[in-house]
C-alpha cells in the first residue's frame, strides 16, 4: 500500500473509527477546558484504556485528545481568565476583555473557527510538505534555535501594557525567575537556597494559574470588576461577515507560525501563540486594540496552537523526533505498540500513516462542530452568581496546579504567584512580559550555551550562519518597529 489520503479516508469512515475520533476530540475538549489538565495529562490518563485497543484506534483517540485539548484550553482562558492548557495563555489577553464586553459567545466561536483553520492548514502541511520541511528543520542547529527564541522575545516590546518601563521590569523579573534552578550547561544550582524544589526551577503552569487565575480570584473577591456584562443567552457564536475577513487572515497568520514552530522540535504550542500574537499585533490594522478585546486577538493564538499539533507530528512521524511534550508521550506510545517512528514507518506501515493523515482532517472538522456547540452553551458557566463561581474557580486552580505533578509545592507556587500577580497588576506591572520571559529565556540560555560549546566560545557564529542572522536581523527590525509604533500611538 502507498501513502494515499483516499485510502486513509476509506479506513477512517467506518463507524468504530469515527466513534473513536469523536470520543477522542470530545474528551480532548473537556480535558483542555479543565485548568491544569493538559493534552499530555489527558493522553497519559487514557493510557490504561489504550493498552487494550489496537494501535491505530488508540493512536487516533490520542490525536483527538491532542487536537481537542488545544481548542478546549481556550474555553476557561476566555470565560474565567484561566488558561486550561499552557498553550492557551495568550488567548486570555483578548478573550477575557471580550467576555467583559458581553461577547463570550463570539469569542468562543472565533476560537473554534480559528482552531479548526489551524488544524486544517497544519494537516495539509503535514500531508503535502512533511518530508521537505522536516529536512529543513533538521538543518537547524543551536545558533538557529537561539536566534528564533530571541525573535520570540521581541514580542515583549508589544505586550508591556500601558507602562512600557514597568513592562520591561516585569520581563527582567521573569528572566531572573527563569534562571532559578540548574544552569542548563554546567548543571550549577542557582538561587535554590538549599531547597530541592527550587533546584528544579519554578514550574510554569502553576505560575500561569497564579498570575492569571488566582490573581483574578482576588480581584473578584475585592469586587474590582463590577462592570462585567454576562451574556446569559448566547445569540451569536459566528462572527459577523465584516469581521470574518480579519479573523480568517489572523488565523492564516497564526497557522503559519504554528506550523513552523510546531515542526521545530522542543518549542511547542505556548511559544507559538506568543510569537504569533506579538508579530500579528505589529502588522495588523487593529494591532493597537490588541489586549482590549478584539476577535483577531483570539484567532491568532488559537489557530497557532492548533497548528502546532500537526506541525509537531511532522518530525515525529518522519524522523522520530518529538516536537513537544505531547509528541514525546506519543513517541513512547508508538514504541510501546511496537511501531518505529521515522522514515521506515512510511514504508512499513503506510496504512497507519494514511489513517493518521485522514483522521487529522476529520479532527479539524470535529473541532469546528463541537467548538461552536460548546461556544453556545459554555458561557452559561458565567450565569452562576460570582459569589459561588469565585470559590469554585479557586478550587479548580488549586486542583489544576496540584494535579500536574501531584505536588503541593506547585499549589504553593500558584498561590504565591497569585498574590504577586495581583499586586503587580495593581501597581501597573503587566504580567505577560514576565511569562514570556519565563517561557523563552530558559530555551534561549540552553541554546546559546550549546552554540558556544560547539563554536568553542566564538560568538560570531550567531552572525555567520544565514538562518540565525536572518532571525536576529528580524528581531532588531521588529523591536525598532514596535517602539516607533508606540511613539506614534502617543
Amino acid at each position: 500500500m502507498e501513502i494515499s489520503l483516499l485510502e486513509g479516508f476509506k479506513l477512517i469512515f467506518q463507524p468504530n473509527m469515527l466513534f473513536y475520533l469523536i470520543a477522542g476530540t470530545m474528551v480532548g475538549i473537556i480535558v483542555g477546558a479543565i485548568p491544569g489538565l493538559s493534552a499530555s495529562t489527558g493522553i497519559i490518563l487514557f493510557l490504561p484504556i489504550a493498552y487494550k485497543m489496537p494501535a491505530a484506534e488508540a493512536f487516533i483517540v490520542m490525536l483527538g485528545i491532542y487536537g481537542g485539548s488545544m481548542f478546549g484550553g481556550s474555553i476557561p482562558a476566555i470565560l474565567i481568565r484561566t488558561p486550561g492548557t499552557p498553550s492557551a495563555g495568550a488567548t486570555v489577553l483578548d478573550g477575557y476583555p471580550l467576555v467583559q464586553k458581553g461577547k463570550a459567545g463570539l469569542a468562543l466561536g472565533t476560537s473554534a473557527i480559528a482552531s479548526s483553520i489551524g488544524s486544517l492548514l497544519s494537516t495539509i502541511a503535514l500531508v503535502i510538505i512533511a518530508p521537505q520541511l522536516a529536512k529543513m528543520a533538521l538543518k537547524f542547529g543551536p545558533p538557529e534555535f537561539f536566534a528564533l527564541v530571541v525573535f520570540g522575545l521581541t514580542a515583549i516590546a508589544t505586550v508591556t501594557g500601558e507602562d512600557i518601563l514597568k513592562g520591561f521590569i516585569s520581563a527582567f523579573i521573569g528572566l531572573f525567575l527563569a534562571t532559578i534552578g540548574l544552569d542548563p550547561i554546567m548543571g550549577y544550582t542557582r538561587f535554590s537556597f538549599g531547597s530541592l524544589y527550587l533546584e528544579s526551577g519554578i514550574p510554569l503552569l502553576p505560575v500561569m494559574i497564579g498570575v492569571f487565575a488566582i490573581a483574578q480570584v482576588f480581584r473578584d473577591l475585592l469586587g474590582e470588576e463590577k462592570g462585567q456584562i454576562i451574556e446569559r443567552n448566547v445569540v451569536r457564536v459566528i462572527p459577523p461577515k465584516e469581521e470574518m475577513k480579519g479573523i480568517i487572515l489572523a488565523a492564516l497568520f497564526g497557522s503559519l507560525v504554528g506550523i513552523i514552530i510546531g515542526i521545530i522540535p522542543g518549542i511547542g504550542g505556548s511559544v507559538a501563540t506568543y510569537v504569533a500574537y506579538g508579530q500579528y499585533k505589529r502588522i495588523s490594522k487593529k494591532g493597537k486594540q490588541f489586549g482590549e478585546g478584539v476577535l483577531e486577538g483570539i484567532a491568532v493564538p488559537e489557530a497557532s496552537n492548533n497548528a502546532t499539533t500537526s506541525g509537531a507530528l511532522i518530525p515525529l512521524l518522519t524522523l522520530g523526533v518529538p516536537g513537544d511534550i505531547v509528541t514525546a508521550v506519543l513517541l513512547g506510545i508508538l514504541v510501546l505498540f511496537g511501531l518505529r517512528p521515522g522514515p521506515l514507518l512510511f514504508r512499513e506501515q503506510p496504512e497507519f500513516i494514511n489513517e493518521i493523515f485522514a483522521s487529522m482532517f476529520v479532527i479539524a472538522f470535529l473541532i469546528l462542530i463541537f467548538g461552536l456547540i460548546s461556544a453556545k452553551y459554555s458561557p452559561k458557566l458565567l450565569t452562576i452568581p460570582k459569589k459561588y463561581l469565585t470559590p469554585i474557580v479557586l478550587i479548580f486552580c488549586i486542583i489544576g496546579a496540584y494535579s500536574l505533578n501531584s505536588s503541593l509545592y506547585d499549589v504553593e507556587i500558584a498561590i504565591l504567584f497569585g498574590v504577586l500577580g495581583y499586586f503587580m497588576e495593581k501597581f501597573g506591572f503587566s504580567v505577560t512580559p514576565l511569562l514570556i520571559s519565563m517561557i523563552l529565556c530558559p530555551i534561549a540560555e540552553g541554546e546559546l550555551g550549546r552554540t558556544l560549546l560547539i563554536s568553542r566560545g566564538d560568538w560570531s557564529v550567531l552572525f555567520t550562519r544565514p538562518i540565525s542572522l536572518i532571525f536576529l536581523v528580524l528581531s532588531v527590525v521588529f523591536v525598532c518597529y514596535a517602539f516607533k509604533g508606540r511613539k506614534e500611538q502617543k
Binding site: 550547561i185 550549577y188 480570584v217 459561588y388 479557586l394 568553542r456
Partner: protein
C-alpha cells in the same frame, strides 16, 4: 502611585543587589556563557529600570491615585490567610476537609449568606471535585494523617 513607584523601585534595587552579589560568585565557564550571565543581565536590567522608575516618579507632576481601602485590605488579608491555612492543614486533614474549609471561608468572604448556606455549598463542591478528580481522573490527593473519617 508616586510613593508606590519609589518604594517598589527601592525594594527592587535592594533585592537585585542581594541576588547580584550571589550571581557574581557563580563559577565561570570556558565558553564565556557562565551560570551567572543571564541572572546578571536580569539584575542589571532591573536596577537600571528601577532607577529610571524612581526618577520618573520624583519628576512626575500628577501621579495616578492608587485606591486601596481598609475593607479591601481586610478582604485580601483574609483570603491570603485562608489559602495559607489550606496549604498548612492539607497534610494533616487531607484534601477533602482542607478544601471544604477553604471553600467555606472563601465563600463567606465572597458574600455567601447565611453561614449554613456556605457550609452546604462548600461540602457539595469539595465532594464533587474530590470525586471527579480523585476517582474519574485518578489524581492522588493528600489523605489525612489524623484519624478522620474519609469517604472514598
Amino acid at each position: 502611585m508616586k510613593k508606590a513607584d519609589i518604594v517598589i523601585g527601592i525594594i527592587l534595587i535592594l533585592l537585585s543587589l542581594f541576588f547580584l552579589k550571589e550571581a557574581l560568585n557563580f563559577p565561570e565557564s570556558h565558553t564565556g556563557l557562565n551560570p551567572g550571565t543571564f541572572p546578571i543581565i536580569a539584575f542589571c536590567g532591573i536596577i537600571f529600570l528601577s532607577i529610571v522608575l524612581i526618577v520618573r516618579a520624583l519628576l512626575k507632576e500628577k501621579p495616578k491615585v492608587l485606591k486601596f481601602t481598609k475593607k479591601e485590605f481586610k478582604v485580601l488579608i483574609l483570603s491570603i490567610v485562608s489559602l495559607i491555612l489550606f496549604v498548612v492543614s492539607i497534610n494533616y486533614i487531607g484534601f477533602l476537609y482542607a478544601s471544604t474549609i477553604l471553600l467555606f471561608l472563601i465563600s463567606l468572604i465572597a458574600g455567601v449568606k447565611p453561614w449554613f448556606k456556605a457550609i452546604i455549598f462548600s461540602f457539595i463542591v469539595s465532594f464533587l471535585m474530590y470525586y471527579l478528580f480523585g476517582k474519574v481522573f485518578l489524581v492522588i490527593f493528600p489523605k489525612p494523617i489524623w484519624p478522620l473519617p474519609y469517604p472514598f
